[in-house]
């Protein structure tokens, strides 16, 4: 199929419609506003529902209502707006309501900047809302990959009855790239017989709820959620390794910095330096086992983590996975400043020098 030039945010919206998204609830915020704009035009044409909510708080709760009533529902926002959605996300997780949430990350804290950032890693992977819960977090690094993930995002959400978050920094949302519309594989999914769609002759009523007032019930509920998260960790963890087979320095990066790292790899390999890239694709579940094994290999001398974050957030997970087997250094910028190829090249050389 021929390639088409698409802006990231519009491609996300179109991909969601193609993935069977039936309703979208959103609120304007830079740099993701093209998602609701595109949805407002194209989702109703596809037979779906678009509502511009009064706030991000309302948007995520509209998602809870529509998805709780059995629909494929989605919302999108950018960092400060995602903060506002956290209340809804913990209720969705607690009531086991599937949905897709896109975070087109910008710089923070607070209003920060509208430029790309990865400062929401903790929020996405640790859960910004209250309680013991997890959302599966997909982190694409190109517009093509973002588009390809939308079908999986909805399918994974439905399969596990869990919110799925797609985090792409503002660059992916704002950038135009040639992409190919591919028919993505669909999963066999269980019927949504739990949804509050009206009884329609059913002998019992369905209830969408996250309240378990009895301590033993709430404990059991958490145990069951934990089992689900363990299954997701086992079956849904994704990552990519580039030229890691002989790498002496492994760069860990996701999203846009991972893409910049590919150019750094080319530069360094041309100079005869053995460098590889380990790119987590799911931020939760983090590919801990794979990174642990890679870091344990004798050819790996050092790990360099690169993020668009001031002191590193994924760095915590990298450290937990590497478990002290090899030294780890960090390169990063926040506030919309991107790490450059030159900086990466220099940081890799410095890391190598320190271990040799």
């Amino acid at each position: 199929m021929a390639k088409e030039l698409w802006k990231g945010n519009e491609a996300i919206a179109e991909a969601a419609i193609r993935a069977g998204c039936q309703c979208f609830f959103g609120y304007p915020i830079t740099p993701q506003s093209e998602v609701p704009e595109y949805m407002s035009v194209h989702l109703p044409k596809a037979g779906g529902v678009f509502v511009q909510s009064e706030s991000e708080v309302a948007a995520i709760n509209m998602v809870y209502g529509a998805a709780g009533a059995g629909m494929r529902a989605m919302t999108s926002s950018s960092s400060p707006g995602i903060s506002l959605k956290q209340e809804g996300i913990t209720y969705l997780a607690g009531a086991e309501v599937p949905c897709v949430i896109v975070n087109c990350m910008r710089g923070g804290p607070g209003l920060g900047t509208i430029q790309p950032s990865q400062g929401d890693y903790y929020q996405a992977t640790r859960g910004g809302g209250n309680g013991d819960y997890r959302t599966l977090v997909l982190a694409p690094s190109t517009v093509q990959e973002t588009v390809d993930f939308m079908q999986e995002a909805f399918d994974i959400a439905d399969q596990y009855r869990n919110p799925v978050m797609v985090v792409c920094d503002g660059l992916i949302g704002q950038m135009m790239e040639p992409i190919e519309w591919r028919e993505m594989p669909k999963r066999d999914l269980p019927p949504k017989d739990w949804a509050a769609v009206g009884r329609r002759g059913r002998d019992h009523h369905n209830v969408i709820n996250s309240l378990y007032i009895e301590p033993d019930d709430c404990d059991e509920h958490n145990v069951n959620l934990e089992k689900k998260y363990a299954e997701m960790t086992e079956k849904e963890t994704r990552w990519e390794e580039v030229q890691c087979e002989d790498a002496e320095v492994v760069i860990t990066a996701y999203g846009t910095p991972a893409r910049i790292a590919l150019t750094a790899l080319e530069t360094l390999r041309a100079e005869g330096l053995k460098v590889g890239l380990f790119r987590p694709i799911t931020l939760w579940p983090f590919p801990e086992k794979a990174l642990h094994e890679l870091a344990g290999k004798s050819h790996v001398k050092a790990v360099l983590d690169v993020e668009m974050s001031s002191s590193g957030q994924m760095l915590d997970d990298v450290r937990l996975a590497v478990e002290g087997q090899k030294p780890i250094s960090y390169l990063g910028h926040a506030g919309g400043v991107m790490p450059t190829v030159e900086e990466m090249v220099e940081a890799v050389k410095k890391a190598l020098k320190e271990v040799k």
Binding site: Q22, C23, F25, V49, V51, S53, E54, S55, V57, A58, A59, N61, M62, V63, Y64, G65, A66, A67, G68, A69, M71, A73, E87, G88, Y91, A95, A196, V197, G198, R199, R200, G201, H205, N206, V207, I208, N209, S210, L211
Partner: protein, 249 residues
């Protein structure tokens, strides 16, 4: 043997947890009876709040969603927009609706969302133990205004029905109470009418039910009813505040 009274088929067999003298039980019954009589029970989807009626999902026999505090109108928007031919309602108290959920209820009414809100106003936070609500009357004591609410400290209580009625999307707003048989019958009529107008796609429909909270008011059930009549009704007058179906006629 003749049946003289029967629980509505719109309610489950679960035992209500409400305090003695609380009006929630009566209001639940009126909502359930209305849905059954209109033949809507099999398709109805309800959304309950956080507050005393948080467990309403155990009592209404239709499908239910439990919302976060104040967010029921947003949840109901998601349900109704994707199920436009089905009866959808929220059941909310005054802390939930008039305080933390004010944005959600105002915008649902502004958009003319075609669901029905049953707003139970007892002028206090019940479940959390009697704190001041936006609807608490001047002079009324609560655990966060122990000498009584003052205008200086908290402003005047809000009349939600009148405020929502100013919005074009609001098709029906009526304030009722359930202090005696005559008023219970009026309340039932209002609730039924709200659901009828919803199914007629007239717009957002709203019924405010003044209610007692003997526990947190520190009164017996009988004294609580008297207090409601003497204090709440003068500030929150009963009656139809807006009815677009009557305007058309």
């Amino acid at each position: 043997m003749a049946i003289v009274y029967q629980k509505s088929a719109g309610l489950t067999d679960a035992e209500l947890h409400y305090c003695p003298g609380c009006n929630h039980g009566i209001i639940h019954k009126l909502v359930a009876e209305s849905l059954v009589e209109l033949g809507l029970m099999d398709e109805a989807i309800g959304v309950c709040p956080v507050g005393c009626s948080v467990f309403a999902y155990n009592y209404f026999a239709c499908d239910m969603l439990e919302a976060a505090h104040g967010r029921a109108p947003a949840v109901a928007t998601g349900v109704k927009r994707t199920h436009p031919n089905q009866a959808v309602f929220t059941y909310q108290g005054d802390g939930d609706l008039a305080s933390i959920g004010m944005a959600e209820i105002v915008h649902a009414a502004m958009r003319g969302e075609k669901f029905t809100t049953i707003f139970v106003n007892n002028a206090i936070y019940g479940m959390t133990g009697g704190q001041m609500a936006p609807t608490t009357l001047i002079g009324q004591k609560a655990t966060t205004c122990q000498s009584g609410r003052t205008v200086e400290q908290a402003g005047m209580p809000i009349r939600v029905s009148e405020m929502l009625a100013t919005l074009d999307g609001c098709a029906y707003a009526e304030r009722v109470c359930v202090t005696d048989i005559a008023n219970i019958n009026k309340a039932k009529k209002a609730i039924k009418k709200a659901f009828e107008m919803q199914m007629n796609r007239d717009g957002f429909t709203f019924v405010e039910v003044l209610s007692t909270c003997p526990t947190n008011w520190g009164k017996t059930p009988v004294k609580a009813v008297e207090w409601l009549k003497e204090n709440m009704i003068p500030y929150y007058p009963l009656g139809v505040i807006k009815d677009k179906s009557a305007e058309v006629k």
